[in-house]
Symmetry: C2
Subunit: 186 residues, 2 copies
């Protein structure tokens, strides 16, 4: 994406946020139009517990490629997972995350990664926010009429975090006439 340097012209940018999980992966799509963040869509991709790993990988690949094809985001942001005390759970989450990143790479999306701490700080204002506070702020910032499911809300929070991070960078770079891609200099 090329950021317009014409003062006052708002270029819409569509972002896909992902909250990865081995059982439930949340996704959230928002548009940035100038200073506004506009809700587009959100939901969850659920893999069948106890199903063979390759079936769960297929569910994630198919689900995310459908989301990318349906909403045509320009960029993706994925929450970094924190390593679990249970090594088996960590391996399973890693495998799910590898499939999620594969789907986004294959969809041709530039990918940014944020820690849970960064997401909470960006959306709620401090890193110790709980799930309810994240949901509350997502509803408020996107002016939603209802509360999205927790994983979908987390994914929308990841998209909002990416919007805030890349917006701050773009504001500075755009002044200098530089091009940005996925929140990074192109």
């Amino acid at each position: 994406m090329v950021v317009s340097t014409t003062p006052g012209l708002a270029v819409p940018r569509r972002l896909l946020g992902i909250d990865p999980g081995s059982r439930v992966t949340g996704f959230g799509v928002i548009d940035i139009i100038g200073q506004q963040r506009v809700y587009v869509a959100s939901g969850c991709i659920r893999t069948q517990p106890g199903a063979p790993l390759t079936d769960r990988i297929r569910t994630l690949l198919d689900g995310l490629s459908e989301v990318a094809a349906a909403y045509l985001p320009a960029e993706a942001a994925v929450e970094q997972v924190f390593v679990n005390v249970n090594p088996k759970a960590t391996l399973m989450l890693g495998q799910a995350r590898g499939a999620i990143l594969s789907a986004l790479v294959l969809a041709g999306l530039p990918i940014s990664e944020y820690t849970a701490l960064q997401v909470k700080q960006s959306v709620v204002g401090h890193g110790k926010a709980d799930k309810t506070q994240v949901q509350h702020m997502v509803v408020r910032l996107l002016k939603l009429s209802g509360t999205p499911q927790a994983d979908a809300a987390d994914a929308l929070a990841v998209a909002l975090c990416h919007a805030n991070h890349s917006h701050a960078a773009i504001a500075g770079f755009a002044r200098d006439g530089l091009r940005i891609r996925g929140g990074r200099l192109a």
Copy 2:
């Protein structure tokens, strides 16, 4: 794949074995022609240490889709990784494995999984074999003129393990006119 039930007719089957790693992923391709196992190809896909995760995911996806397109295997077998004491390493290996499985799913290959113990038992005869013994047996079983690199040899061992496991099953099922896919009943 449909297993021919015509007695005495050897149907060639091409297998792709994978030894997953976050830095080096070995691959090995063999043909089963009747009782014979014939070497076709082997090698490694290396990801750049220190490169961004999404670049490493892309390297694995591109590398494995090239291997699948070049050798057109009918089935894939992937070694199960054992969880490391280091949670960060386990997460990274999980992510690499998720990308590897994604590439194989997208190539339309039925996938079987084997533990390192199963691979060693099948190829060397006992589960406590070291890397050198695995390499030695791979060279002997496939009548190779040189010794493949360790990760490539491990991948060939995974393919040989799958050949042995599915061959035993097929021998029984084919008698009954049943169809097998990826070493499993279709």
